[in-house]
Symmetry: C2
């Protein structure tokens, strides 16, 4: 059919060709990206050779993130393990005995850094309904929500949180989990979210599920040993991963979200016309 | 403290004790449950010894489900494999060559059974917002949504759909997938949903992710062979699984959904006050 088009029309057709979210990310200019500081990157090495990279969220949970940095600097997680994999919920790691002493500098009972006043916090609203909060959106690159004037990060796939006991302030940051299924948004504002997996999430999501209550492994042999967890900033320069995250307050990201909500790829018959906060994952790429 | 309460008050306190969703499911009377017909259960056996049970949804996609039953009766999937595992998206299985002839009775190009008029279809609305549709809810035990007077099943975790090409009617049912991550609701009304995994989902979600585009495996060796797929109704009675699903139009289910939205378990500090359609998974249990 295209052979019948006049050259001018052909050019218009080419310009108007469907643009999917992937195209927008691939074509995004350098200004659409922000470097992630090496001090915000946590690198977990598993015994099976897999590496998982986590971006920390110091603005959302400063005391917890300070703890996590201290634990990494003390090599505290080396020799611990992944102890719990509950299907469609979380993959959790730390000291299986729950008795390993914390380094002195770690605050054993941090405050409940679950939400903070929205006033003064950067926030780009999502144009659409959210099932849980008055307003979903993004805050400096993070999926977030505002409810009653307070902003919190939200439990999307791959988000990393701090395991805790029943009291709201018992999680030091030594026990961490990553969401491995449908966003468990009921945990929002009940747990400190401290980051997200930006590379290697499949190394955590494809582990065998534990057969004990809550997906804990029954035997020590089932646990995946953690060789090390380090801050990228403390690694030799030639081993250090470097990533960029897309600015969530810019025009390119707005186009990306719109393309996620209105899929124009040939496969789609009926674009949804909407997208939920956890289906418009903030793009991340290795630093070019 | 409880020692100071008068006996009458103690009884009230006991009655008012926090009741979580699990308690409600465990205490649900027989009348809250419906038997799943054996002809609606698909049993997949993997070479690693794992078994996956899928409940079919004949009301939503009658032609596709009829195809699937014929494929199972013809033992068509025996010797095929899981070919694609894309992280936070889908696990897909079928004939890797895409050239295996279909049994004669299978309709090669079924109609696009993606949605149907809501008028006359049983529907219990979810009391809350949905990011994608005008109204989310449940239809005869299935997560569903209504948009512009038409009802469709929705892509929650574990839901099973029919792989297809670019044309809307190219999926016979021979290529199936199960959602293994956050609900990809943008696929709603774009693909025929034909069922859900009700047992053994972790056997599909914990497989290694494929490294080719879309999570396809690169080599034949990576594929998990499928030993057999059968309808429970065609299996010997002593091997046949039997399950019940909770009625979604009853008072017990309404209490369950409320308890999912307002977690009263001791762990929760701030109940969400809401739940999305894919976080209130319809309870299923083995038939007692």
């Amino acid at each position: 059919m295209i052979a019948f088009l006049a050259p001018a029309l052909l050019a218009i057709t080419a310009t108007a060709a469907p643009v999917g979210p992937t195209d927008i990310v691939q074509q995004a200019p350098a200004a659409a990206w922000v470097d992630i500081p090496a001090g915000d990157l946590l690198v977990m090495s598993l015994e099976n050779g897999r590496r998982v990279v986590i971006q920390l969220a110091p603005d959302a949970a400063p005391v917890h993130v300070a703890n996590i940095r201290r634990l990494a600097e003390a090599a505290w997680w080396d020799g611990t393990s992944v102890n719990r994999v509950q299907d469609n919920y979380v993959t959790q790691w730390g000291d299986a005995t729950e008795k390993k002493p914390l380094p002195d500098a770690v605050v054993a009972a941090p405050p409940a850094e679950y939400e903070r006043p929205a006033n003064g916090v950067a926030f780009t609203p999502l144009n659409g309904r959210d099932a849980y909060a008055q307003q979903a959106g993004w805050s400096n690159g993070w999926p977030a929500a505002i409810e009653k004037g307070r902003v919190s990060l939200v439990h999307c796939y791959g988000m990393v949180g701090v395991g805790r006991g029943l009291a709201p302030d018992t999680g030091s940051g030594a026990e961490l989990y990553a969401v491995n299924g449908h966003a468990p948004r009921h945990l929002d504002r009940n747990i400190a979210l401290v980051g997200r997996v930006i590379k290697g999430m499949d190394a955590l999501s494809s582990l065998p599920r534990g057969t004990e209550a809550l997906g804990f492994y029954k035997t020590a042999e089932e646990r995946m040993p953690i060789t090390s967890i380090r801050l990228a900033s403390s690694m030799p320069a030639n081993q250090r991963p470097a990533f960029q995250v897309m600015r969530t307050d810019g025009a390119v990201f707005a186009r990306y979200v719109d393309a996620r909500a209105n899929r124009r790829d040939a496969f789609f018959i009926r674009p949804a016309g909407a997208v939920d906060i956890c289906n418009a994952t903030v793009p991340v790429r290795p630093r070019p």
